[in-house]
């Protein structure tokens, strides 16, 4: 295409968007005070912005089409090369490990605290990754299991004084049970229906927590949830944050280990096969319902454990923390990083949770960016930033 053709096209797009966004972006009415505000400058921004974006858009689409054609050749991205090259990867891991260990001592309490938040999302992302990335089930109600974990700890502690270390496995276990109970009837539904039904379940659990005061204390929530104890030592504020940080780091490492093992096992292969082709999978003697249920349950269990940590971190929980949008944010971290890829999900979660924290000035744009990320990733890089190269089994003749 010629340059003038490109420009003409972009001008048209830009004019179209100026028209499209005119009422919403330019005019602002305040019907309470009956004033109209005209913001013509916005129109200019939109015009100029969309002009360039449309050029970039078409360039990206063309590039994607080109890449699609040569997909068969092993075209590994930069990140993939690093992951696959042991000489770079191992020192990198060691360095990251060192950084993780000294992190809370190098930076302020606040930095450590938001790192804990981010790591909770890493755990959630990795758990959801089992469900979406490995088994190919779109779960839009994932946050429900997160809520189950958080409420298990809060309530069991409140009523029976259950300590954190017992609540952690128990919260995971309860979430697992919930996952299995909810998953059992719905897992035979087709993909998009499953997504809607899980969304429904997610909302049901939140609504029940909101309405059933006698059980959950309703919308006013549960305050004063204790932080994890350390052999009876009374920790200072920063001490307890650092302690929690190490706990979550340990759990994330445990999660990575478990998922890695699962991925390269009989179970993991069955998940991937199920994602590739359900019918053929059944013809190979794989029980579809049970395999799906396993993925669903394990994913739920991880959300449950993350929920316990979440409750211990915020020390106050109420149902408002477990809305559908929380599920969408977790989904976003998985999609951004790359479904199925552990490194991808970790980087996705860190990026999406840490960046808005650091760029607090732009925090109001957080959700709109999440929305854009979901659309753009699906359009341009459905595989995520770190396109998953599944570690395939390499045969060694004995």
């Amino acid at each position: 295409m010629t340059a003038t053709g490109e420009i003409k096209k972009s001008v048209l797009v830009s004019l179209w968007f100026m028209f499209l966004t005119f009422p919403i972006m330019v005019i602002r009415v305040n019907t309470v005070q009956d004033v109209v505000e005209w913001r013509w400058l916005n129109m200019a921004y939109i015009g100029i912005g969309t002009f360039f974006i449309s050029m970039l858009w078409r360039y990206m689409i063309r590039r994607k089409e080109r890449e699609g054609k040569k997909e068969k050749t092993d075209n590994l991205s930069f990140a993939q090369k690093i992951i696959l090259d042991k000489k770079i990867f191992i020192p990198l891991v060691a360095l990251t490990g060192l950084f993780i260990i000294v992190f809370p001592h190098m930076f302020s309490m606040y930095q450590t605290n938001i790192m804990i938040s981010a790591l909770i999302y890493v755990m959630l992302g990795l758990g959801l990754n089992i469900v979406i990335g490995l088994a190919g089930l779109l779960d839009l109600g994932y946050v429900a299991f997160f809520a189950v974990g958080a409420y298990s700890y809060a309530l069991l502690n409140l009523h029976y004084g259950l300590v954190f270390w017992l609540a952690l496995p128990l919260g995971g276990f309860l979430a697992l049970i919930f996952g299995v109970i909810l998953g059992y009837p719905v897992l035979r539904l087709r993909g998009d229906y499953l997504a809607i039904v899980t969304l429904g379940f997610g909302e049901i659990i939140r609504l029940v927590l909101e309405n059933w005061n006698e059980f959950s204390f309703g919308p006013s929530g549960i305050p004063n949830i204790p932080k994890p104890p350390l052999f009876g030592v009374d920790l200072s504020l920063s001490g307890s944050i650092i302690y929690l940080y190490y706990i979550i780091v340990g759990l994330v490492i445990f999660t990575i280990f478990v998922i890695n093992r699962l991925e390269n096992s009989r179970i993991g292969r069955a998940w991937i096969a199920l994602k590739d082709d359900e019918i053929a999978c059944q013809a190979m003697g794989i029980d579809k319902a049970r395999t799906k249920l396993r993925a669903f349950g394990l994913g739920a269990m991880w959300a449950g454990m993350a929920g316990v940590i979440f409750a211990a971190k915020t020390t106050f929980i109420n149902p408002a923390s477990f809305t559908i949008w929380e599920s969408v944010i977790i989904l976003c971290t998985v999609v951004l990083g790359g479904m199925g890829s552990i490194t991808g999900v970790i980087s996705g979660a860190l990026l999406l949770i840490l960046l808005p924290e650091y760029l607090r000035a732009f925090s109001e744009f957080r959700m709109i960016i999440f929305g854009a990320v979901l659309v753009l990733m699906m359009v341009f890089r459905p595989g995520g930033i770190i396109n998953n190269v599944r570690k395939t089994y390499k045969f060694q003749k004995t």
């Binding site: 302020s108 930095q111 919308p219 915020t314 020390t315 106050f316 929980i317």
Partner: protein, 371 residues
Amino acid sequence: MKLYFKILVLSLFVLIGFSAPGFAGDTIKLGVAGAHSGDLASYGIPSVHAAELVVKKINAQGGVLGKTVELLVEDDVCKPEVAGNTATKLVSDGVDVVMGHICSGATKSAMGIYKDAGIIAISPSATNPDLTLSGEYPNFLRTIAHDAVQAQLQVKFATNVLKVKKIAILHDKGDYGKGQAELAQKYFTTAGVDVALFEGVTPGAVDYSAIVMKVRRVKPDLVVWGGYHPEASKIVTLMRKKKMDTLFMGSDGVKDDTFIKVAGKYAEGVFATGPMDVSGNAMAIAAKKAHQEAYGSDPGAFFDAAYAATLALLNAVEKAGSTDYNAVMKALKSEYVDTPLGNISFDANGDAIGIGFSVYRVENGVFVEQK
């Protein structure tokens, strides 16, 4: 290109990571926390404006204890999980006192962190009774009366003035609304009023006719609403359109000009409780004028309360002679200070003395205080 981009992102991370906060200078650091973005920003932004105005004024008069006051404004979007991070950030940045947070849930989540760090916080808007009455948040104070005070006022007014015998209570299932409704239920029942209906409605639902019909069936003398104004105006409008003239009473979530605007003629006669009218207070008038000059608009919700909270905090630091927790707390609970809300101090629980609620009634399109 891809490689450069990734390196860029990585280095960005590292850069931001190392930009740890600078060391405290010779200033008094006042933290302001609340919802400054998102759907509840309209409750949080006015408090930031109030703090800015007070700090500007005080710094112009020479600051506190000879030091200038520095504002640290942090957003918590009214979410408990974010509020924890916000509070830690403020503590990390070395704040001395905090004005905030805005929502009760977020406040509860943040108070634990302030407590461990020995920081006092005064909220202009968190009305959950537990915050002061439970004793679990000793470092918490507020310049707004808590929900129980409001509920008791509602009961007093309804039984003494309106002489109701039978009521229906509706709420929006939210933290604030349901809390209010439960308190109302408790005090109305104690007062011997028959609570014939107690139910939650779903905020954002497209139609409330079923619940309105249900109210109609129990024939109450009064509908008490726990929640914000959008749902209240929907319900009132529908009730009037369905030819029901049952009295309607809301709390401070309803006492908002938008309610009258939205409900229009149907808003007439609706009762709402709200903070005592301070429009005659000289300081309130001055503060309002300053806001109009600085931001070009009328101040929003909780502006006066936030103004008062900021003044009280800074005054206490001045009187205490330091930012020491015990000294400041003692000053807050013993000294009286002039604010747009009047001459106030704090009681042992942390609730403000000298402020209160009044009942308002919509008359000819404005809220009129009922004596």
